[in-house]
C-alpha cells in the first residue's frame, strides 16, 4: 500500500487552488455561464457599435454614451450572473452527491468553500473581461484609447459587483434545500437589487421627502447602485446628473466618494461571504 502522510487539518493553499481550478473549469463548461457571457458580450458589442458612429465629431460624448450604456448593461446582467452562479455553487453539488464525494477527500469545508468562491470569481472575471475587452478593442482604433483607464476601472468595479452578487448567491446556496429553490431565491434577490431597490428608494423619497443625505445612503447600501455611482463618477467626474443626491455626495464626501462606494461594494463581498462560510460549516447535512 502507498504510505499515507497525514495531512494538516488547517486549510492549505494547495487544496484551495486545486478546488478553484476545477471550479473554474466547470464554470467555463457551464450552460448558465455561457448564456450570460454571450448576452453580456453581445449586448456590449451592440452598444459600442450604436454609440460609435458620431465619435469623430463628439469623441468624449460618444465615449460617455458608450460607458453609460455599458454601466446600465452591467447593472442588469452582472448581478444575475453572480447570483445564479453563486446560488448553484453549493446547492447543486449537494443535490447531485458531488459535494459529498469532494468532501470525502482529505480536504476540509473551508478549502472547498474558498476554492469554489475563487473559481467562480475567476469565471466571472473571464466573462467581464470578455465583454469589456471586446468593447475596448472596438473603441480603441476609433480614437478613444486615452479613455482605456476609465474603461478598465469600470470593468474592475463590474467584477467587484459580480463578486458581491456571487457572495449573496453563495449565501443563498448554503441556506437553500434544493438547487431549484436556490435559483428562485437568486432571481428574487436580483429583482430586489436591480429594480425594486431603486424604485423603493425613489418611491420612499417621493412619499416622505426623505432628507437628501438619507436618500444617498439608501442608494449606496444597494451594491448595484454603489456600482452605478462609482462608475458614473469615473467617466463623468461628477454626479450632477443625479440631482440633489449627487450634489450632496460630492459636497459631503468629495475625494472620499469613490473609496466609500468601493468600500460599500467590498462589504457586500465580505459580509454575505462570511455568512455563507459560517452556514456551510455549520450545516449538519452534507
Amino acid at each position: 500500500m502507498i504510505e499515507v502522510r497525514l495531512p494538516e487539518e488547517r486549510p492549505q493553499l494547495l487544496s484551495i487552488t486545486t478546488v478553484a481550478r476545477q471550479q473554474l473549469r466547470a464554470t467555463l463548461r457551464g450552460r448558465w455561464f455561457w448564456m450570460w457571457t454571450a448576452a453580456f458580450v453581445g449586448l456590449a458589442v451592440l452598444l459600442v457599435v450604436v454609440a460609435l458612429p458620431n465619435i469623430d465629431t463628439a469623441r468624449s460624448a460618444a465615449f460617455g454614451r458608450t460607458s453609460a450604456s455599458l454601466v446600465t448593461l452591467v447593472q442588469v446582467i452582472v448581478p444575475l450572473m453572480g447570483l445564479t452562479l453563486g446560488a448553484l455553487a453549493i446547492a447543486a453539488p449537494r443535490e447531485s452527491g458531488a459535494l459529498q464525494f469532494l468532501l470525502s477527500h482529505p480536504v476540509n469545508r473551508t478549502e472547498v468553500f474558498a476554492g469554489t468562491f475563487l473559481g467562480l470569481a475567476a469565471g466571472l472575471g473571464v466573462s467581464i473581461a470578455g465583454g469589456f475587452g471586446i468593447a475596448g478593442l472596438l473603441t480603441a482604433p476609433r480614437g478613444v484609447a486615452s479613455q482605456a483607464a476609465v474603461l478598465l476601472w469600470i470593468a474592475l468595479l463590474a467584477w467587484l459587483l459580480a463578486m458581491a452578487m456571487l457572495s449573496v448567491g453563495m449565501a443563498i446556496s448554503t441556506f437553500a434545500h434544493t438547487s431549484g429553490s436556490a435559483l428562485g431565491m437568486a432571481v428574487f434577490s436580483w429583482l430586489v437589487f436591480v429594480f425594486l431597490g431603486d424604485l423603493g428608494v425613489m418611491a420612499t423619497w417621493v412619499a416622505t421627502r426623505l432628507p437628501v443625505g438619507l436618500l444617498f445612503a439608501a442608494a449606496v447600501v444597494n451594491p448595484v447602485e454603489a456600482f452605478r455611482l462609482a462608475s458614473l463618477t469615473a467617466f463623468s467626474g461628477s454626479l450632477d446628473m443625479l440631482g440633489p443626491a449627487g450634489t450632496f455626495a460630492i459636497d459631503s464626501l468629495g475625494a472620499a466618494l469613490t473609496p466609500a462606494l468601493a468600500a460599500s461594494l467590498g462589504a457586500w463581498v465580505v459580509v454575505p461571504l462570511a455568512v455563507a462560510w459560517w452556514r456551510f460549516g455549520e450545516r449538519s447535512d452534507v
Binding site: M1, V4, E8, E9, Q22, Q100, F101, V107, V286
Partner: protein, 284 residues
Amino acid sequence: MIRIENLTKRYRSRTVLRDLSLDIAQGESVALWGPNGAGKTTVVRCILGLVAYDGTVEVNGLDARRRGKAVRSLIGYVPQELSFYADMAVIDVLDYSAELRRLPRERVDEVLEIIDLEDHAHKKVRELSGGLKQRLGIAAALLPDPPILLLDEPTSSLDAASRDKAVRLIEELRHDGRTLIVTSHHLEEVGMLVDRVVALEDGAMIAECSPLELAERLGLRAWLHVITAPGSADEAVRVLTAHGFDAHLNSHGVLVEVPAQSKGDAMAVLLAAGLTIEDIEVWR
C-alpha cells in the same frame, strides 16, 4: 481500526442514529445492512467526518471530528453511483481526485489499468454505463491505495450482469487485506462480500452476526415465483401447502413464501413430489 461508540445523530428533532457502538478490526469486512432510512449512509458520513454527531468515531486512533482530513486520507469512499461529474472525462475525474490527495499523476494510469478502465479513460462520465460508473467510483477510491474502503450501496443502481462484475471486483479488494465497510440492503450481496453484518433499523442496531445467521435471526422472508410444467400449478400449490408453505396460484405460476435463508427447501419439496420446475424468480 474503526471504533464507534455511542454514536447518535439528530437532524433537528429527528434522530437518525441511536447510540450505535461498533468495533471493526483491521482487514475485517463488515456490512451495514438495513432498509432505506435505517441510518446506513449516516454512519458512513460520520466515519468520513462529514457531519456533526454525538459520540465517538475513531479511525486508526484518530478522532473523525477533529482529524477529519487525516481520517479521510486513510479511506477510499465509493459513492452509490459516480454520475455527478457528467461533463468530465473519466481521466479528468481521476486526475482531480489524485490532485486533491496529492498523488503522482502516474498513479491514475496504474489504477485505470487495475480497474480495467483504460479503454474508457477519455469518455465523458455521462457516456458510461451504470457498471462503468461504478468502476470509476472504485477507481477513485483506490487511488491512494487506502487501508479502508467505504462502499455506499455499491450495486444498488446496477443491472444483474454489472452487479455480478462489481461484486467480484469488491471480493478481490476484500482479499487484498483492506478493511471493507459496505452498506447494502441486498442480503445475497452482503453474504458474498463480508464476514460480519450489522443490521440497522430506524437508526439502531438490531443484530450483529454473520451473513448466514442474519436472515434466520431477523426472520426474513422472501417470495418465490415458480413456473412448473404446464397443467401442474394446482398440484404444486397443494404439495407446498401440505408441507406448511404459504403458496397460491399466480397468473403465470405459483407464488410461495419462504425463509430468506433457505429458499431451496420449497424447491426440494416440489422435486420430491415429481413436479418439474421450469423457472424460478425471487420476489421480495
